[in-house]
């Protein structure tokens, strides 16, 4: 099961479709809060997370998941991410940090990798 959190609907839908096209199940959320309130934090095998989200950002969500020992492999996607953010994300255990627009192979490889872990 792959969870996707992105406030941009287009990204949300396209990524969901791509993930599903290779045979995985996918579920999408527009905000961090939405994701947290679902049961997915416990069941998700991979989280594709947008860095910039309203209110709780992607990085904050990562920190929150780490702090509660929820070790879901996270793949960050961002439109205007910074190197500092990337470093912070990787340090905190992120599988991949991709800049939009990203290649499908990069995303799918990251998803495969995450699911193998």
């Amino acid at each position: 099961m792959v969870s996707i959190v992105d406030d941009d609907e287009s990204i949300r839908e396209s990524v969901t479709s791509l993930v599903r096209s290779v045979g995985y199940r996918a579920e999408a959320f527009a905000t961090a809060e939405e994701f947290l309130l679902s049961n997915h934090p416990g069941t998700a095998d991979c989280l594709i997370l947008d860095v910039c989200l309203p209110r709780t950002s992607g990085l904050d969500l990562q920190r929150q998941l780490v702090s509660c020992d929820c070790r879901i492999p996270i793949i960050f996607i961002t439109a205007h991410g910074t190197d500092e953010a990337r470093v912070q994300a990787i340090n905190d255990g992120a599988v991949e940090f991709l800049f939009k627009p990203f290649s499908e192979l990069a995303l799918l490889s990251a998803v495969h990798a995450a699911l193998k872990v």
């Binding site: 406030d7 941009d8 287009s10 990204i11 839908e13 396209s14 990524v15 479709s17 791509l18 599903r20 096209s21 290779v22 910039c52 309203p54 209110r55 996607i77 439109a79 205007h80 939009k100 627009p101 990203f102 290649s103 499908e104 995303l107």
Partner: protein, 1017 residues
Amino acid sequence: MDLSNTIHMDTQALDDDIQRLQSCMNDLISIQAFAAIWSGQKPPQIAAALLELLVRMLRLEFAYSRICDSSDELPTELVRQPLPRRDLQAHAVGLTLEPSLSRDRVNPFVMASPSGNGDISVAVFRLGLLDEMGIVAAACQRPDFPTDTEKLLLRVAGNQAAIALQEARRLDEQKRAAAELEQRVQQRTRQLTAVNLELRKEILQRHQAEAEQRKFSSLVAYSSDFIGIASLEGKPLFVNRGGQQMVGLDRGEELPRTIFEYIAEEDRRKVQQEMMPILERDGHWSGELRFHHFKAGESIPMLMQVFFIKEQPGDRRVAMATISRDISARKRAEQVLRDSEERFRLMVEGIKDYAIYLLDSEGRVTSWNAGAERLKGYTEEEVLGRHFSKFYTSEELAECKPQEHLDLAAAVGRVETQGWRVRKDGTRFWADVLITALRNQQGKLIGFSKLTRDVTERRKAEEELRALKDQLAAELAAMTRLHELSTRLLASTELQPLLEEVLDAMIALLNADFGNVQLYNPKTQALEVVAQRGFGQEFLDYFRSTQEGTGSCGTALLRGERIVLEDVRTDPSFAPHLEIAAAAGFLAVQSTPLLTRSGEPLGMISTHFRKTHRPSELELRFTDLYARQAAEMIERKRSEENLHRSQTYLAEAQRISQTGSWVWNVSTGELFWSDEQFRIFGLDPDWGPPSLSAALQFIHPDDRPDVQQLLEKALRETSHSEWDCRIVTLKGDIKIVHTTAHPVFTLGILTEYVGTTMDITARRQAEDALHEAREELTRVSRAVTIGELTASIAHEVNQPLAAVVTNGNAGLRWLAGDAPNLDEARQALRRIIRDGNRASDVIAKIRLLVQKAGTAKEEFDLKETIAETITLAQAEMRRRDVALSTAVSDDLPAVMGDRVQLQQVMLNLIMNGIDAMSEVSNRPRELLVTAAQDLPDKIRVSVRDSGSGIEPQNLTRVFEAFYTTKPYGIGIGLSISRSIIEAHGGQLWAVQNEGPGATFHFTVPIQPVVSAEAHQL
């Protein structure tokens, strides 16, 4: 010849004979018939008829007759020929026949035809028993003439004619005898008539004489005079009826025995002593005597004529007679006259107002009335017999006036004169005198009447009247002069010549030697000399500027009334100026203030006199009048000059401001243009203003309909109107003008439009340049704002692009499997299209904001515009961690305006809000965008942030250009935003929040005001 032939011949002859006899019978009957016609005719007519009958009947060459009418007359000759021949003369024929006639011939004879037709046979027969009536000759060309029948016919005709002639002669004689008788009777009748006439005349004369006699008798009888005849012894023989009635003896009484009884007793002696001796001596007497009235017993005054009646011839006195007339009426009239004269005398004596007295021919007083005594003081006793010259003055006596007056009166009948006369007490009085010469019936001068009246009082009154008249004449002359001078004032076109004219006139009016005019300067409150005559520089310097109370003019100014200094040396107030007066050479002065109509001081006219002098009241009065007029003229002229100056300034101002003015008379259509108006339209003022329709032709054809519509609307609503339009001058230059038209009402009726035309071409060009610059600046500003958004915008574009790529890959994968999932692939493709459009939209919006868009006014939905703007800024807000909330009414009405510009303003405010919160870390960064219909006609849009806020002193400064608090800002965003909003007829302002941050509000009218600037922005 056989028998038959003979018989035949006999028969033939017989027939001829019968025919001849029948013809002859016919002719005889004709003759008989003629004879009947001849009856009563005169012999020549009978002869003529006979001849004509014979010529015709017997076919004669001619017939001739000689008729002896009476023994004492010449025979009448006649000749007739067959008609129409008339070549024979009766007397010539008679002479031709005469030799044959003288013989006692009874048979016919042959002779040569008098008309040259060969021989003719002539038969002659005589008329009357004794041939005494004449002869008839019938001539025929036939040789057998006359045949027996013709002889018979001639004879019968001759007899018939003779009978007729005889008858005619008899009748003629009868007529002659009757005429003679008639003549005798008439002669006798005339004689008798004459005698009769004479007799009648005599009778008439006798009748006339008798009538005369009767008339005379009646005349005498009914005469009102007393006509009487008496014997030489004095016994009355006859007294006419009038006379008898006069003395009361009209009842048939017997005449008195002597004539003395007719005379009143008192006059009988006069008869004996005077009348009778003179009568005896002269044969007649005339005189007055009184008769005795036998009935009434009174005396009748009579005028008597007494004379003797003498016998003719011989001259012997046979009686005496009198014709006397009653003169009682005359006597009474004489008495009335005497009474009247007496009354007149008493009246004259009683008249007191007139001295009426008589002088003898030498001039001595002969009568004296009460009036004379009262007037001259002499009593009658004192003056009678004295010469009238004693009433004359010594001066007139020296000139022999008394005698002169008498001589003149004697010569021409009367003298009327006036002069001083002397009373008894020596006092004088002015006398009106009438001297009339008195002459007797023979024309001899017998004296003079003199009538004198004291007219001293009247003379005095007359003198006063004359003086008054002279004064009036003088005043009239002065008025006339004043009028002339005033008229000349009107001719002065400028102030200075007018002042000189006023001064000259005043000097002339007052007969002054010199003078000056001063005008009052309200600033210095002093009088300043503006015109002068006869003063030197020293005086002018001294009195150049005179304060109130200084000198005569200053005093007059102070008091507001005229000052007259008769002698400046004696006037204490003038003491300080005596030296300068002496130098100037005057001793007297008058100063008359010139006042405006409202009584304000205008100036002063002073006139100066070399000698001590005080102008007369009349002169001063006219001075006042003239001064008033002069003041008015000066005031008017000053106003005119001020007006002229104002007009000049106005023209200059119009020229500088390139503003022309015009007046359009609504009723006459007349158009007045100022010079600048002409200049703006490129027309020559000398041509005069065009008509309104001509003026409209100068308007650019594209603008003309609009202007005409505006004008019509303004006229219809009589309202104020303004417009901008282009005009095309004659040279083809295009100018932009701003025109105002303002209605002017007189008594509530629109009479005129006054207006201005301002050439705003240059301004408009400058405005256009400014507008372009501002437009450019606005665009730059937008670009800057967009630049600030680049990162966010990149994100906004990247997002859909990333989605597109991902969807593409996903799609491929959905198709690449063993069992391609077409449905998923289709959905992926749809999303690709959607996201591609989304990216394209963003790019389009940005291009719209950045491109140099022209002015575009449109009706648009503000709510939608706000949403779009937010879309542009949303990524930035996310990036900058700004929470946006919006509160936009659903029912916002559409607004009219420039969508892009309003979007720019909103974006600018949102970006400012985001920037203002960049330093905020201790509280949420919140941006609230609201929009609502705040007022019925306005929508208010507010952008509230929770940033650092604005210092109160900077709340207005933030809108100034190039004011900024941002490290990289250029400070034009808010300035441009405000101008955009104001151009839309709205307002933009900032307020400090009660909590943190600030709020920017702007309003947009739902029906935006259309202004020139809105067009330009």
